[in-house]
């Protein structure tokens, strides 16, 4: 068994390319958020929330003129997957409550996927390692986005809104292995497409979880 420091270091190496990509995405978050939230709030949000999906989701609602309640609801629904990811991670965590919490808080999508051993268990130190470059990149990128934003002009003219789906395409490609995961992905995409015109933002993504339940009944 490798030592914890080696596992964490291996995780950091694995997390570096994620950190660079996350940096680019958070620059776009800073640029897009500044006109709505001012210069300080986007950086504080990245430090405390550290979640691309929730931050972009809440920001989209605020940009569209929605209230704080709708923005919070969208962000919470987009992050509801962390409940499931935390439940999956829980059996792999040992020790007292504060130590389990310290491993669970740095949880983000890319780290969760990378730390999965493929048999339903997770490598906690590796997970923390993969998250470190992403956290640094996320906070630093937000600050730089807020600073350079006013000089950039229209962020959509630079294609910044396309960074986010591209990031998720990378994560999905690494995640989809085997027939059941492919079925879950196809079903999730279909549900989101059908529901987007029908229900408030955030709900289509949560409803896509039904595709995971359906696909789990398939034989692998």
């Amino acid at each position: 068994m490798e030592g914890t420091r080696e596992r964490r270091r291996a995780g950091i190496r694995r997390g570096l390319p994620f950190g660079i990509a996350v940096f680019a995405i958070s620059v776009s978050f800073g640029v897009l958020a500044r006109p709505v939230m001012g210069p300080v709030a986007p950086i504080v949000m990245s430090i405390l929330v550290f979640s691309g999906a929730a931050q972009f989701g809440a920001l989209a609602v605020l940009i569209a003129g929605g209230g704080a309640g709708a923005a919070i609801a969208a962000g919470v629904l987009l992050n509801a997957r962390y409940l499931a990811m935390g439940l999956a991670l829980a059996p792999s965590l040992r020790g007292r409550a504060p130590s389990r919490a310290a491993f669970a808080l740095p949880l983000v999508d890319a780290s969760w996927a990378a730390a999965s051993r493929g048999d339903g268990t997770f490598d906690p130190w590796y997970l923390v390692g993969v998250s470190i470059p992403q956290y640094v990149g996320w906070v630093l990128g937000t600050a730089i986005g807020v600073l350079i934003g006013p000089r950039l002009g229209d962020p959509n003219a630079l294609g910044l809104d396309a960074l986010f789906p591209a990031f998720f395409i990378v994560l999905l490609f690494e995640e989809v292995r085997g027939r059941r995961r492919l079925a879950a992905a196809a079903g999730g995409a279909g549900i989101a497409l059908v529901l987007t015109p029908l229900v408030p933002a955030g709900l289509p993504i949560l409803a896509a979880a039904a595709a995971a339940v359906a696909a789990s009944k398939m034989r692998s």
Binding site: P17, A24, G38, A41, V44, L48, V49, F50, S51, Q55, F56, G67, I72, G75, V76, N79, R81, A84, M85, G86, A90, P91, G95, A97, R100, F103, A104, L105, D109, G120, A157, L158, G159, A162, L163, P165, A166, F168, I169, V170, L172, F173, E175, L182, A184, A185, G187, G188, A192, L193, T196, L198, P200, A201, A208, A211, A212, V213, A215, S216
Partner: protein, 102 residues
């Protein structure tokens, strides 16, 4: 402006609560096999949903715009095993170029 800080505080607390609920409520207790297989599939389903919403969604309507070309580029680049930064910045560049030309 107060509402912005309310959103930040609520999302910070809710995100932490969602991450901590499992590990603090059931540390060391294995999940039932059925629940575990759903959990294994959740990331695929939700990531695919996020991609679709971020590519085609505009508020509560579906639109085809330059983002589709960016996402298509990302799909091909990922499939050809391009590094993540190339995929992500390339998608933005393709989208920006399509908007410039249209």
């Amino acid at each position: 402006m107060t509402s912005v800080w309310l959103v930040i505080a609520a999302l910070a607390l809710a995100t932490a609560a969602l991450k901590l609920a499992g590990p603090l409520a059931l540390g060391g207790t294995p999940l039932r096999p059925g629940a575990l297989s759903v959990v294994e599939l959740l990331a695929s389903a939700l990531l695919a949903a996020l991609i679709v919403v971020e590519t085609f969604g505009k508020g509560r309507s579906l639109v085809l715009d330059a983002r589709v070309l960016g996402a298509a580029f990302a799909g091909v680049a990922v499939w050809r095993r391009a590094p993540m930064i190339v995929v992500v910045l390339g998608a933005a560049a393709v989208t920006a170029l399509a908007r410039l030309l249209s």
